[in-house]
Symmetry: D2
Subunit: 326 residues, 4 copies
């Protein structure tokens, strides 16, 4: 049965609240305002250059309870409205493969994993080369010059390395007393500052900001929908505040952009601002449900965050399982 | 030209020093001696159950310099004697894909990665279901009952989650004043205790032990060889000491087993003991070169270690980029 | 917009006409009745052993117009209700890859294709090892003994090789004067004989029988649905006639089985009878629309058919593009 | 043991006989001389437009013995000097997958195949978009305009469809009384005409020409080598004759180009002439050993040839298993 009773919630959301609308001209001014091209060396680590050994030390020193919370969704091999390019998982040895050696012990089980991981289903990090605006990657590099079928020669995930810094959870449903933000709900600068006040945390230089909209919970309770049609996420008007605070990573249980996009002619404006203007990598499709519970129990919304992308030379990002330590 | 001058070192090593030989009966007695079946709940996290919040806190509190060192080799798509199943890396969008939305900005670059990651080329974690000895996984589960084409229902990497604990680097070449251990050189219990003394560190309960043989340096300087033919790694006689100390993870720049195997009829005896008897996951094919330098500079061989496998339901392990923080 | 107006046809069909119901006991008797175990050498070519050089000669001699009709659907990378494991198509060289030689001319474009091709979206051949009934492959081989993670040692597609023989198109919609058979409509022995009469063709020994239900046209005109829920195809009561006639291949624009299955406890009874009992490979998911037009124009429903599976050692089948020559 | 005794033949060949050298200017003149841009509609079927229904009829009518010979190498998943991007073959269901239906019978075995099939290991067809010379595909299309990460919009394999025509085997080792042509041996126009005389066959308009160098036999008997370093194949001086005769397909047990290339600054000159100038697709890496035996037994070197590429929209070619019928 694919039909639902009249009383069941429809997973396809009605969109409201993704505005206000932003003209292309306003967006371009915003892009200029937050742009940090020429600021960092090496340029393709972008804002991660801001994370000094001192930040790392302080983030580690902030560990209190020792509770470890992984933030990845399960590897998802089933297609759906939010999984158009399902990941692969193939068992390649079930202990029965011929072994080169004479001995058969121990037997080994092996598997192949594969993913075209950008999209809405795999928890992943976007490297700086993932997005170009008007043909330019971060730091002004022409995408056509540095990205080809063999990968990216600038802004690759292999240039980023891992991130160890303080993370801050903006748990909007907790702040607002709702189960989740409705898909299409934009998160504005005032939502960020309200969350800081309500959660007792202040975003500072070097921090990774993780936005919980509750959409993983919504998916579990209501069902899957097409997040390109409607997702809660940042409105571009929140970005100047985040830039001013010196954040180095934006992450979320969505892909960080409110959808539909409020910006004329730009389908992923927060991606463009963060990656191409500011050199700030993104974490898409996190599972922040357990972190929400753990943060509430601990009464604190900051933690040690470790993001360890696979070292893929020329890669545009990586599937990851970020780890929060409270 | 593929030939080499007579003076150039031959990457194919002559094997000596992998002994003493161990009979199958002796091995089975060893297996019994270190076996911890029935000890942990949940069983498929094995020895990782030993890592309490207190271990995590102490490991984090041990961070001094804030230096972050990633431990993964680059994703390797080229076949070679040490890479029989090369990884895949395909660019799937070069900013020219048709977009569902009307707008074309920003443009996106995307890629597909895939790997049959067990073997000698990809830095990866072995989950408990990877290895069965005499048909039994850790905790005595019959492999035939719980592992099939759809994955493992016991001992999967998704049951492990991430590890945050203290890591200890056994930098054997530094201890011995050599560039690397020759492939085939066994590492014994007395090597471990000698390294502890020389490096000023003591392995304790909950620790992850990383063995540097220097083979990544050898590969760089001399060339690739078939590690199944000859690798430096642990002799099984080192395992009781490691078991006694309560280690929770063994890792190395090889695959942890000295090769050729000194054990009659068992091609990977350390794998069998660690995974199947002790419930201790393994990290294979680390790049420990940078960590060796950083540890020497810092004058300390322990650190915060974070291992964050991808959450693949039923998976036998995961490519990873472990992170050491000194 | 995903909703449809009230007047638009719903791609999800209402099922009628898949019966009569068949008990498991009746099915097992049928299995015995058409079983040819022990009859052919080599056994894993099954019924294809029946195609002698004489059949090939006569099939070639039957070519009249020289019209060539390919029968494959396009390689389908988009998930849908009839495509749960979408195929992969990645461009791996866009003329910009580094070339080992000094010269850069000519430039080359390359691609990777991949597919878990069984299912409802890829035109493919089922080899004899694809299906086991009560644990037995064709010729009585125990599936557990001969099929493992490394592939099949009996009944693999590599043992089949290509088929060159006479094909017969049973164009049921043409016979019945309808656009297509409704999904769920069973094709019975009397439909086969009625089609023979109407189309002026008689199925004989060594023939490949292709059943057109028109479902490719329905998909184009109405939209995709889940063929596991409802497909037109053979009822098991048609199989004894086909066996008696000595057919060597069954193909269709569906997967040959009417669905839902009319047989108690057997989800794919025609697969079981054809592959496991009779040693008759299957062609699933053909596009027979152009052949229907060409056959009507030519006024004949038999033709030279060439099926050339990829030579995958141990493979369970192969994507194919069968060719009809009228 | 990887070393060989002094008496064993070294699979790495010494190259002689790939000349005479050809200047870039001479090559460009040759390109102009055989160029057929603007001649065919649809352009991206190129020379296959030459194959009329009459050719098909005559090719089918030429079948005498009914012997069927497949021409594909086995799907090769092992890396080697001639297999840098090994194909994938993963079993994805071993009869144990959970089935949506209630019934468990029959059980099914399934597999995934994947390949970056251009190269030297997979038998495949090159479509016209595979090769650009000076940035131009066949018919003068700018490669940069029509080929991107989503595939080719001109010259794709999906535009070719299948080929049914007369094939001619140029069995050079049979003509010359040798086991194989040494790698690096160029095949010239006079070799082609000498083979025609010796084998009693004349290449004509619409024919597919298959060149046997015997390198598959050499690989079996001597071992694998890097075919980019040395392969027997056509010298460009043979191409005008083939163009004059109106051939529609060139195939071989190598990749059709003699290597090293005799042409200054052009690594694959026969590819450039055939695909980009003449619109003649190529078949690379055929196994012509069985066809050589069958042709000798039949005393004839022409046959019905069927090539049925997978219908991959935008694809640059396809793995194939061409079929000869004598």
């Amino acid at each position: 049965m694919t039909s639902k009773s009249a009383d069941a919630p429809d997973p396809r959301p009605a969109v409201t609240g993704n505005g206000p609308a932003v003209s292309r001209r306003e967006f371009d001014a915003l892009f200029e305002a937050v742009r940090t091209w020429g600021r960092w060396t090496p340029a393709d680590r972008g804002a991660w250059n801001r994370v000094t050994a001192d930040h790392v030390r302080r983030a580690a020193a902030g560990v209190r309870s020792g509770v470890v919370v992984p933030l990845a969704l399960p590897w998802n091999t089933r297609p759906g409205p939010d999984n158009r390019r399902p990941a692969l998982h193939h068992m390649t040895d079930l202990g029965d493969a011929e072994h080169d050696a004479e001995s058969r012990e121990p037997s080994a089980h092996k598997d192949f994993i594969g993913a075209d991981y950008h999209g809405k289903a795999v928890t992943h990090l976007d490297a700086l080369c993932h997005i170009a605006y008007r043909g330019r990657l971060y730091d002004g590099r022409a995408a056509g010059d540095v990205v080809g079928a063999a990968g990216a020669r600038f802004g690759a995930v292999s240039a980023l390395g891992p991130l160890v810094t303080r993370g801050v959870l903006l748990d909007l449903p907790a702040v607002l007393g709702v189960r989740w933000l409705e898909p299409g709900r934009a998160v504005h600068a005032q939502d960020v500052t309200a969350a800081e006040r309500a959660l007792g945390v202040t975003i500072g230089a070097g921090d990774a900001v993780l936005l919980r909209s509750g959409q993983v919970r919504r998916r579990t309770e209501v069902g899957a929908w097409d997040p390109d049609t409607a997702s809660a996420g940042f409105h571009v008007d929140a970005v100047p505040l985040l830039a001013e605070r010196g954040v180095v990573l934006l992450g979320g249980d969505g892909d960080n952009d409110v959808r539909p996009s409020p910006v004329e002619g730009v389908h992923s404006p927060v991606h463009a601002l963060a990656l191409a203007a500011m050199g700030v990598p993104l974490l898409d499709n996190l599972d922040l449900e357990a972190l929400s519970v753990a943060a509430a129990e601990a009464g604190r919304y900051d933690f040690l965050l470790v993001v360890a992308p696979l070292k893929v030379p020329g890669g545009t990002g990586s599937p990851v399982n970020p780890v929060a330590v409270l």
